[in-house]
Each structure stands twice: as C-alpha cells, then as structure tokens.
Amino acid sequence: MIKVLCFAHVAEELSVRSYTVPAPQTIASLRKGLSDRGVSGAERLMFAVNERYETDEYVVEAGDTVAVIPMVSGG
C-alpha cells in the first residue's frame, strides 16, 4: 500500500488527512484519483515521495509515503 498525506485545501475538500491506495502507481494516477474525487486545481498539485518532490511519471512503490502539496504559501 501507499500512504497519501493531505494538507490545506486538499485535506479540507476530502475531509481526510491521509488515505491509502494500492501500489505501484504513478504520480499521474494519484493526481487523477484526486481529480476524480473532486479536489480543485488537481492539475496544479505537487507531490513529494518520502519527502522529496517527484513528477508525474514517477512510480510510487509499496511502503512509500506520498504528500500531496498544494501551492505553498509560507513566509
């Protein structure tokens, strides 16, 4: 399984802070899953695998933790 962490507006729209999905999956497929579940602006979300940014073609394996990262707004 892959653990997916949600933050900010994504966590609010899904009403969850984390969920799990079967492995392996590409980030593109995780993105599509979020879009299908109604997350707004899914095409602009960033993704980190084990705390490192990765792009759509990256294959997430079992045991990995994926963070869904909306546009950041620190500072």
Binding site: R44, L45, E54, G74
Partner: protein, 151 residues
C-alpha cells in the same frame, strides 16, 4: 539551537542572529515576517499556518545549501512558525551572514523567495468576512515546484 525549524513556538529573532555570527562575519541580515492587519481594504483577524513539518525542515536546510553554493561562506538559519498567529506576531525569521553586506542581503532575499516556492507550508487567512487557504501568487509550472532539482 536548530538552524532549520518549523513548529508552533514563538520565534526569537536574536537567537538566529547569534547563530550566524562569528569573527569573520561583517554583515548580518535578518528578515522578520509579521502578521499584518490590513491588505487593501481587507482586514485580517489572524493567520493559520499548516506544514508538512519534516519535509519543510529538510527544504529549509536545502535552501541554506543553495545559498552556500551561490554565496560561498554565507550562513543561513531559518525558523518558521505554524499554528494560529495574531496580528503583529512573527511568522518567519531568516538570518544570513557573510563577510560583506551584498552577499548577506542577496542571500536573505533568495531564501525568502525559495521558501515561497518549495517549502511545504500553507497559510490560511482569517478575514473579518471569511477564510481562505492562500496559494502563492508566483507563477509556477503546474504540478512542479519552481527551481526544484528533480533526479
């Protein structure tokens, strides 16, 4: 003191200042971001920050490494606060130091811009007329953090 820290504790700008000072520093620049009440006609009541903390702290350290590559010898310490912040409270402190002032200024400016690109921290504005999660105004390539080195 941790040089790269994201947590709910009030910030202490002088602790970061002391961290980056040493005998061969001639210039220290501190940036302190505080919660502002008015933005145009909109009135902020408080800000709420959320973060993916372990990754955010790693990214702060990465920014310091990028600074050192661009301005060799420059030191950078960054603390970001999260949770609920009132007007006037400090949200972020960046301390940079260098032998010469130009490097310390440029390094500091670079650090805040990078925070707004790659550090997983989100701000929710609580205005008198509602709340909203803020996405940074910077133009970014969809789905990809600006300037991030991907393997």
């Amino acid at each position: 003191m941790n040089w790269y820290q994201v947590n709910e504790r009030p910030l202490e700008p002088m602790a970061l200042y002391e961290a980056v000072r040493h005998r061969n520093v001639g210039a220290v620049v501190l940036f302190i971001g505080t919660v502002r009440e008015m933005t145009g006609t909109k009135q902020t009541e408080l800000l709420e920050y959320e973060s993916y903390v372990p990754m955010a702290e790693k990214m702060l350290e990465q920014i310091a490494k990028e600074v050192d590559e661009r301005w060799p010898g420059a030191l950078t310490a960054i603390h970001h606060r999260i949770g609920r912040l009132d007007i006037l409270e400090e949200a972020v402190v960046i301390a940079t130091s260098s032998a010469h002032r130009a490097d310390a200024y440029e390094a500091n400016r670079y650090a805040i811009e990078r925070i707004k690109e790659i550090v997983p921290i989100w701000k929710r504005e609580h205005w008198t007329d509602g709340t909203k999660w803020i996405g940074d105004q910077k133009e970014q390539q969809p789905g990809r953090p600006e300037g991030v080195t991907l393997k």
